[in-house]
């Protein structure tokens, strides 16, 4: 199993410049500065790298869209506002190997011609700001940042900007607004940030992991990178696994393993503790649809589901999900899907920016209904009402937060409707015990003795 990003995360002192450099760090900058910016973009295009923040948009293509008007500065912004429940991969990267991000930022800034580059970091990651700023200072002292880097005539400064605790600022246009010092409301697109971003200048916003992945791409070449993985899911992906698993944590996978292997192998999550059985899983962070165990391990066509963009999305939203940002949340048989959906609805109600009406009003409405169902006060008609509300939010909002709020509710009702109905029909019983597995896990082969 090839590791690219987390190859040296166990090396003592990799957080500091001396060790990082000794372990072969900043080689990609030396290599990149001998290339032309257009060549770097071309390499990234060849690598087939897809955005790791959730949407999976090809990074090389995004970079080639940036407008290049004369005399207008361009900016690269690193989106480190990782607030998705269940996702913590960027935190791991920034906390333990900050120089990898700095290195990727220098190369990407050079490719895009950004002299002033920002890292917009989530406000709650307060201590990571110090780590990053220390890393930036170290890089600057050693001549990797500042004026005339490596004698190439290219100037670059990196600034760390702290958010103030809003999930919505992970959306790229809201992030830009917030970076400009305004209220973090998403902008209405078009114009896209590639044309008018920070201070109306062309801007590229990329996820931390995407920018870190630029380093191995430059080191090994785009073609070599593209050979890792399968199909359009090239390279490696960081997965932050959590929930009912033996070994929660951040894992680097090369997108050729199956979901079953990821959950049950000892190399990764290590199976489900206490001999419980798998009930459901959210494969890509809280916004993506939840999948019951039978659809998670096998697609509706009966093929083995693999850990990559295409396979996880196989079957669309009816029987599939999304890779998302890689927040892998596993549920065992003791978890209540209604309660989980209510928790997520509460999160989205709290994080909606309040700009456009379907999301502002709809998220609050869904939360209230789900709360009723969860606490045994629901009606049967509430389930259909929930379905109707989510369908009226989805696709009708300015930014993807509306979709992100609607999808988990939709998927929970789609796959776990009987659990919702059981909650409505057994209001008292639902307060003292859980619905359990029901038929979701039936196609599974038993794992362990306790079934």
């Amino acid at each position: 199993m090839q590791k690219l990003l987390l190859e040296k995360d166990n090396v003592e002192g990799i957080r500091f410049y001396e060790t990082y450099r000794r372990e072969g760090g900043y080689k990609s900058v030396e290599k990149a500065f001998k290339m032309s910016p257009a060549d770097i973009v071309e390499e990234v295009k060849k690598s087939g790298l897809r955005g790791r923040g959730g949407a999976g948009f090809p990074t090389g293509m995004k970079w080639s869209f940036i407008a290049k008007p004369e005399g207008v500065p361009r900016h690269l912004v690193c989106n480190a506002d990782e607030s998705e429940p269940g996702t913590f991969k960027d935190r791991y990267l920034m906390e333990f190997i900050p120089h990898l991000l700095i290195e990727g930022l220098i190369v990407s800034s050079f490719a895009l011609g950004s002299n002033v580059t920002y890292i917009y970091i989530r406000g709650e990651y307060a201590w990571i700001v110090d780590i990053l700023e220390q890393a930036i200072a170290e890089a600057k002292n050693n001549g990797w940042l500042g004026k005339n880097i490596l004698g190439s005539g290219f100037d670059c400064e990196i600034y760390v900007h702290r958010g103030a605790g809003a999930y919505i600022c992970g959306e790229e246009t809201a992030l830009i607004e917030s970076l400009e010092g305004k209220r973090g409301n998403p902008r209405i697109k078009p114009p896209f940030p590639a044309i008018k971003g920070v201070w109306d200048r062309p801007t590229v916003v990329n996820n931390v992991e995407t920018l870190a992945a630029v380093v191995p791409i430059i080191n090994m070449g785009g073609d070599e990178y593209a050979k890792i993985g399968v199909g359009k899911s090239t390279g490696t992906k960081l997965m932050s696994a959590c929930g009912n698993i033996n070994k929660p944590g951040v894992y680097e996978i090369d997108m050729t393993i199956s979901v079953e292997e990821f959950i049950f192998s000892d190399e990764y999550c290590g199976g489900i503790p206490n001999g419980k059985r798998l009930k459901a899983c959210i494969p890509g962070g809280s916004s993506v649809p939840i999948l019951p165990a039978n659809l998670l391990l096998k697609t509706s066509k009966g093929e083995t589901r693999m850990m990559n963009y295409e396979s996880l999305a196989d079957g669309g939203f009816a029987t599939g999900s999304m890779m998302g940002s890689g927040g892998f949340i596993v549920f065992d048989e003791d978890q209540c899907v209604v309660r989980h959906t209510y928790t997520l609805a509460r999160f989205y109600r709290h994080e909606s920016c309040g700009q456009c009406s379907p999301c502002r009003e709809g998220t609050g409405w869904m939360e209230k209904i789900l709360k009723n169902i969860e606490y045994g006060k629901g009606k049967m008609s509430d389930i259909d009402l929930l379905w109707d509300i989510q369908s009226k939010i989805e696709g009708n909002t300015i930014c993807p937060l509306g979709d992100a709020a609607a999808w988990p509710v939709a998927a929970a009702i789609r796959h776990f409707r009987d659990e919702f109905e059981w909650h409505v029909l057994n209001p008292d019983e639902s307060q003292i015990r859980n619905y359990g597995l029901a038929h979701y896990a039936e196609p599974l082969t038993p794992k362990g003795e306790l079934v």
Partner: protein, 377 residues
Amino acid sequence: MAEQQLFKVTIDNITIEVPAGTTILNAARMIGGDVVPPAMCYYSKLQNSGGKCRTCLVEVSKGSDKDPRPMPKLVASCRTTVMDGMEVKNITSQKAIEARKGVVEMLLINHPLDCPICDQAGECDLQDLSYGHGEDGSRFDFDKRIFDKHTLGPYIQLHMTRCILCYRCVFVADQLTQTRQHGILDRGERSEIATYIEKNLDNDFIGNVIDVCPVGALTDRTFRFKNRVWFTKPVDAHRDCPKCCGEVRLWMRGDEVFRVTARRDEWGEIRDSSNGKTGWICNECRFEKKNTSDWVIEGTTKVNRHSVIAQNKYVGLKRPPEFIEEVMDGVKQRYMLDIHNVSEVNEPEIRLDLIEGPAHSEDFEIADEKREEKENK
């Protein structure tokens, strides 16, 4: 100057040529009538407004001649510019109508529906919207969110419960006045228009926030609870004002001036004044000149909107052209509050004074039969 490029756009099977850069909504307004999507937050005189309320969602079934793919989602027509050869579906798209119903329902779930005591009733955009595009009843059976009332200075009252967060008043303060003391506090469901903390809105042109408010969230304190808008008569008047254009609309009853507003066009937006200035009026004209002697009266005016205050009241009211039958295979237009079509009370054949006791529906049924007989003959 280069000749302006014209784009051909088809909205609900009606084709029109508009200058490049026009939004779909404005193109639809050029056609007029039923194909115009409703707009609650868009205000053509305010930059950056629009895109927030999502009532103007339309389906784009063909992107342009060059790229004929349909757009995957419904788009906000107020912020989407037309492309050459674009085909837009508004009232002919079931998807758009459904989405709009959803938006109207969501706008109303936390709205107090206190129209009987609201000063905006009768000229409220939300009333028009919910009547024209909403469904009967609401499926929301929870407590509505409430806010405290705020008095923003001597002239303006804020009822945050009624607000639909269109941001228009924020744009007015940003674009018309030198300082902005109010804005959005908090986020999501709890977001509110407020000053930080408890300041007065004190600026020469801040009174315009009342005119742009589509609902009764910002009301005129000098007019509150004095009269219903449909009892007052709109009269155009002007005065020589050093600060603003001085062209206003007085709302009078008898000789008494109840309130002063700017002049509005048929979309409820401020109209440019006759001497080419913008039509925004200053606080002095709006709040302090409440005598007929302050004004040069130009005469009663027509309120060119399909609202309660305009209905059947003003002679010579020009209805927008009606395309609905044409584009929707003979589906008849639904008139807004056209009581004369649904009730026979005003039918001259029925003399209410000749009916013994109170009039019942049967009395009118008899009249209906009589009329049918007459028509058959």
